[in-house]
Symmetry: C2
Subunit: 251 residues, 2 copies
């Protein structure tokens, strides 16, 4: 793991790193020392490790919960080289949708293929981050919606260090098998008018989760329109499950 830069904000420090060919970013509370919960975040399709939807949440997890938070670029995204195979598939899929095929199964197949690379990559990132003095081997959370859910479901199913996950905006098609193997608490976000993932497939993915504690939050609006108050809920969810001592009895 190699650190490329460090930027300090009022209450959060942001470090860019690479682990082998994987570019990543680590946010920690300013002056952090010692072991703390770590939240890994998976970005959406066409986005990257520092997309606004990632960075805004990451800084609040670090500043308000005291967590370490990390995100890495998915293959073919952000600072990573383009992937000819992904581009070819994307072009093919556009043509198939134009010809009348449903989008959701094509997205599901694509995400399952990418997950075969990201699951081991993300576990290697956890290994490296947890060796840092200001991260350590504390409880791990995962946050990811849309592509971050499609890649997150197999990751959470495979990675025993993850104790709680926020997932959503994803369908059941590619994920039913790994979803059933997830047993940790999940907060699952559904956009009621999602134009990309059919509502029934979102509800079916929630249904498929093996977790005894899972809670579905559905709100009106399109795929990208998660309301701001859900971030407050996510903060409390992670605080309750990753840092129960500090979150109080009613958190």
């Amino acid at each position: 793991m190699r650190f490329l830069s460090q930027t300090s904000y009022d209450d959060v420090t942001e470090q860019l790193f690479t682990l082998g060919e994987i570019p990543g970013v680590l946010w920690t509370p300013a002056g952090a020392a010692g072991t703390r919960p770590l939240v890994l975040m998976g970005h959406g399709g066409g986005q990257h490790k520092k997309a606004p939807g990632i960075a805004v949440r990451a800084r609040r997890f670090a500043a308000e919960c005291g967590f370490a938070v990390a995100a890495v670029d998915v293959p073919g995204h952000g600072d990573r080289p383009t992937e000819d195979e992904y581009d070819r598939l994307a072009t093919e899929n556009q043509a198939r949708v134009a010809a009348g095929e449903e989008l959701a199964p094509l997205i599901a197949d694509f995400q399952a293929m990418v997950a075969r690379r990201t699951v081991p990559e993300w576990s290697a990132v956890l290994d490296a981050l947890q060796e840092l003095e200001h991260v350590g081997s504390g409880p791990v959370g995962y946050w990811g919606v849309s592509l971050g859910c499609g890649l997150g479901v197999p990751f959470v199913a495979a990675e025993p260090r993850v104790r709680a996950a926020v997932l959503g905006l994803g369908g059941v098609l590619a994920s039913a098998g790994p979803a059933a193997r997830i047993t940790v608490p999940v907060e699952f976000l559904v956009q009621w008018d999602d134009e990309r993932v059919p509502r029934e497939q979102c509800l079916a993915l929630f249904d498929a989760l093996g977790s005894a504690e899972k809670t579905l939050h559905a709100n009106p609006g399109a795929h990208a329109e998660i309301p701001a108050f859900e971030l407050d809920s996510t903060l409390r969810f992670f605080a309750r499950h990753l840092d129960p001592e500090s979150s109080g009895a009613s958190a």
Copy 2:
């Protein structure tokens, strides 16, 4: 409005009252003076104004949010006389279910009939409570699930003083019309394995709500098994909508 008794707990005062033939209870923070938000709570079928599911929530709304909270017995429930017509219908419905009819439409018809009495009763209760010095004419919230949802949907639709509502565990059958007239923010609770209200009918009632801001929280478990963390969420929901100044930007 006539007060029958007053009991003081550490941080909450409980007053029993009658308004005409309606028995009710009012919880306020200890030593409350002046105008404050008021939450009216509707109890479940076969329950009453001081059932544990009501009283536990009411005391937290009063103690932690500083609200006034009231609940009254629905006709045929609690301290009210039995209603021969309701009892006859209940017996008839049991026979119809035993003969193979679906339960949900029978419940819906029953609740619609009761609502024709409770909607005006509850508005009269608001009138009387808001004349009290320690309640006043502040914003009003409504909380009710199951029967409290079946009666609450037409009440919230009809009562312009209600600014926010927590509803749930109810189906669309009797409620689609009034639900479409509700425009205030709603937090809507669904039990994923509800044995009394089919999941599809719960989701359809959420869908039917006319509110621009509505949020559905679904959790595994049976009708009566709402998880404890939903009460924390309800507290924040009411604080955000009934008392925005005190709840902070991120509440």
